[in-house]
C-alpha cells in the first residue's frame, strides 16, 4: 500500500524521511514529489548516480570507435595527399574530439532517461501526488509530497512518523 504525506516545509519532510528510515523503510520505497528540485542534507535521501561514469565511458567508446573507423577508412583505400602520412592523429584529432564529446552527450542523455525512470517500466498502481504550489519565497519549494510504499502492518507507525514530523495531511492509497 501507499501513504501520501503532504508537507509545507523541507525540514519537516526531511525529519519524516529520517524517522521512516529509522523504522525500517528502505530509501527505494520513498519518493518525494515537488514542483522544483529539493535538496536534502546528505544522508537523508541520497540517490547514488552513475551519470558521470557513464558519460565518460560513452566518450571513451565513441572517441575510440571514431578514431579506429578513420584509421580503417584511410588504410582501406590509401590516398597520398601532398606527401602527408596516410593516418595522423593530429589531422584527425578534431574528429576524434568531436566524436568523443558526442559519445558523452548521447550517453549522458540516455543514462538520464534511464536513471530518472522516465523510460523504465513503472508500477502503474503507484499513486502520483500533485504538490500544490504556494506563493512563498526564500528558497522554500512550496508543498512537498512524500510517497511511502509500505506493508499494511507498517502503515500506522509510518503515519505517526509523518504526522509528528509536521505533515499537514496524510492519506492512505492502494490496497492494504
Amino acid at each position: 500500500m501507499y501513504l501520501i504525506g503532504e508537507f509545507h516545509e523541507k525540514a519537516a519532510a526531511a525529519a519524516a524521511i529520517r524517522s521512516l528510515r529509522a523504522s525500517g523503510i528502505a530509501p527505494a520505497d520513498l519518493d518525494v514529489f515537488s514542483e522544483e528540485p529539493v535538496e536534502f542534507p546528505r544522508g537523508v535521501l541520497d540517490r547514488p548516480s552513475h551519470l558521470s561514469l557513464v558519460s565518460v565511458a560513452g566518450a571513451i567508446v565513441s572517441g575510440t570507435l571514431a578514431t579506429a573507423f578513420i584509421w580503417w577508412t584511410q588504410h582501406d583505400y590509401k590516398l597520398v595527399t601532398g606527401g602527408m602520412p596516410i593516418f595522423s592523429f593530429w589531422a584527425t584529432g578534431v574528429i576524434t574530439f568531436e566524436m568523443t564529446m558526442l559519445g558523452a552527450i548521447v550517453a549522458n542523455f540516455g543514462w538520464f532517461l534511464w536513471e530518472s525512470g522516465l523510460v523504465r517500466r513503472r508500477d502503474r498502481s503507484a499513486p502520483i501526488p500533485a504538490p500544490t504550489p504556494r506563493p512563498v519565497a526564500g528558497g522554500d519549494p512550496g508543498s512537498l509530497c512524500l510517497r511511502v510504499r509500505c506493508r499494511g502492518n507498517e502503515a500506522a507507525q509510518a503515519i505517526d512518523a509523518m504526522r509528528s514530523a509536521g505533515a499537514i495531511d496524510v492519506q492512505r492509497r492502494g490496497e492494504a
Binding site: D31, T73, I95, E98, I105
Partner: protein, 438 residues
C-alpha cells in the same frame, strides 16, 4: 524608508509565462506572415540558383567564398549565445541567468539549424550534400578526414545534437505542467514530450546532474566548433588567414555576437509578450556589461591581428590589409569598427547611458558590425590572392541578398513559433522574486 518590494506570487508567474502560449494576437500573425513572405522569397531565390547554377551569384575566380560563407560563420557565431550564457552561468550558479537561459538556448538551436544550411546552399549542387557523409563512393574512396570541411561536419553535428538535448532537458518539467492544461492537441504534444514526468526526487536529481554535465560538455563543444570554423580559414596559407590567433579571435567574436543576439531577442520578447517583470533592467544591465566586456576583448583581438600584419609589412599580407583599410572594402572595415567598438563602448560604457533601449541599439549595432566583420575577413583575402594577376572584386547579387534576408526571417519565424509552443522562461527554475522597479 524604501518600501519592501512585493513578491511575484507563483500562480502569477505560471499565468504570466503560460499565457503567451494560448493567445495569438494580430501583430504576432502579421509578423509571422512577413517573416514567411521574406523566407518564401529566399526559397524562390535558392530554387533559381539551383536551376541556373552558381553563375547567378557574385562568386567568380578567385573569390569562390562569398556571402554564403559569411552567413555560415555569422550564424554559427550567433549560436554561441545559448552556450555561453546558459552553461557558464549554470555552472557558476548565477541566479540572474534564470529568465535568460531558455531564450538563449533556443537561439543556439535555431542559429545552428540556419548556419548549417549554408554549406549546403554554397555547394551549388545541394542534392549532392550526402557526399560529405562518411561512406565510400563508387570507386570505394572514403572522404578525406584530414580536410577541415569534414571537421566542420562532425563539429556541427555534435553541436546540434548537444544543443537540442540541452534545450530539451529543462523543458521536460514545464511540459509536464503544460500537459495538465491546454487544448487537446497541445496536451498530447506536451504529454508525449514530457515522457511521463511526475516531479519525483529521482527525476529532479537525474535532471540536475544531467544538466550540469551537459553544461560542461557543451561549453567544450561550443569553443571547439567555432575554433574549427576559424581553422577552415587558418589552415590555408592565405594572406591574413594563416594566423595562430584565429581560433580564439573567432570564438570571441562569436560570443560577442551571441550576446548581442540574446539582448535583441530579450528586448523584443519583453515587449511583445509583456514580460517586463521578468526581463528587468537588472537582467539587461548584467548582459550589457558582458557585451561591453566582449566588445573590449574583440577590439583587442582585432588590434593584435591587424597590427602584427601592418608591422610585418609582408607584401602579400599588406595587399589584403590595404584592400581592407584603404581599398574596395574600406567602407565595410571602418563601418565595422564603428558599429562593433564605438557604438557599444559609448552606449554601454557610460553608466547613465546603459538603459534597456540603448542596450538594444548597441546589440543591433554589434549584429550588423559582426556580419561585416565576417565579410571583411572572408572576401578581401580571396580577391587579393598570392597571384597578383588573379585579383578581382566581389559583390553579392540579389540572389545572395535574398537568401541572406530569408535566413533572418527564418530565425524570427522559428523563434516566434517556439515562443508560442513553449514557455520562453523556465517556469520551474523561476522562483517567486521581488518585483523590481523598472
Amino acid at each position: 524608508m524604501a518600501a519592501t518590494p512585493d513578491l511575484l506570487p507563483y500562480h502569477r508567474i505560471r499565468e504570466d509565462l503560460f499565457r503567451p502560449l494560448s493567445r495569438v494576437s494580430r501583430p504576432y500573425m502579421l509578423a509571422t506572415l512577413i517573416a514567411f513572405i521574406v523566407g518564401a522569397a529566399g526559397l524562390v531565390a535558392w530554387s533559381f540558383q539551383l536551376r541556373r547554377g552558381m553563375g547567378v551569384t557574385g562568386l567568380q575566380r578567385p573569390a569562390f567564398w562569398g556571402v554564403y560563407i559569411v552567413d555560415f560563420v555569422f550564424w554559427i557565431g550567433i549560436s554561441h549565445a545559448g552556450t555561453l550564457i546558459s552553461a557558464i552561468l549554470r555552472l557558476t550558479d548565477a541566479a540572474w541567468r534564470k529568465p535568460v537561459t531558455r531564450a538563449a538556448e533556443a537561439i543556439t538551436v535555431f542559429a545552428l539549424m540556419i548556419g548549417g544550411m549554408f554549406p549546403i546552399i554554397h555547394l551549388g549542387r545541394a542534392w549532392l550534400f550526402y557526399w560529405l557523409l562518411p561512406y565510400p563512393n563508387s570507386r570505394l574512396i572514403w572522404p578525406n578526414f584530414r580536410s577541415p570541411l569534414l571537421w566542420d561536419l562532425t563539429a556541427i553535428a555534435t553541436y546540434v545534437t548537444g544543443s537540442v538535448i540541452y534545450l530539451y532537458l529543462p523543458l521536460i518539467p514545464d511540459m509536464a505542467q503544460l500537459a495538465q492544461h491546454n487544448t487537446p492537441w497541445r496536451r498530447r504534444l506536451y504529454r508525449a514530450l514530457s515522457l511521463g514526468w511526475t516531479g519525483s526526487d529521482r527525476e529532479w536529481h537525474a535532471l540536475e546532474r544531467a544538466m550540469k554535465l551537459m553544461a560542461c560538455i557543451i561549453l567544450a563543444v561550443a569553443v571547439s566548433v567555432h575554433t574549427v570554423v576559424a581553422w577552415d580559414f587558418a589552415m590555408s596559407v592565405a594572406p591574413m588567414w594563416h594566423s595562430t590567433i584565429f581560433g580564439p579571435y573567432f570564438v570571441t567574436g562569436a560570443i560577442f555576437s551571441g550576446i548581442a543576439a540574446l539582448l535583441l531577442a530579450m528586448s523584443i520578447i519583453r515587449k511583445v509578450l509583456h514580460l517586463e517583470a521578468y526581463f528587468t533592467k537588472h537582467t539587461f544591465n548584467r548582459l550589457a556589461k558582458l557585451l561591453l566586456l566582449m566588445c573590449l576583448l574583440w577590439f583587442y583581438f582585432t588590434l593584435a591581428e591587424n597590427l602584427t600584419v601592418w608591422y610585418g609589412n609582408e607584401p602579400k599580407e599588406m595587399a589584403v590589409f590595404g584592400a581592407r583599410t584603404r581599398g574596395h572594402y574600406a567602407p565595410y572595415f571602418w563601418t565595422m569598427m564603428f558599429l562593433n567598438f564605438v557604438v557599444p563602448f559609448v552606449l554601454l560604457g557610460v553608466r547613465r547611458l546603459r538603459t534597456i533601449a540603448n542596450a538594444t541599439i548597441a546589440s543591433v549595432s554589434v549584429l550588423i558590425g559582426m556580419w561585416l566583420e565576417r565579410f571583411v575577413i572572408v572576401v578581401p583575402t580571396l580577391t587579393n590572392p598570392r597571384l597578383p594577376s588573379a585579383s578581382s572584386f566581389y559583390a553579392p547579387t540579389w540572389i545572395e541578398v535574398a537568401i541572406t534576408a530569408a535566413t533572418f526571417a527564418a530565425m524570427a519565424m522559428l523563434y516566434m513559433i517556439f515562443a508560442k509552443l513553449f514557455p520562453i522562461i523556465a517556469v520551474w527554475e523561476f522562483k517567486p522574486h521581488p518585483q523590481e522597479d523598472d
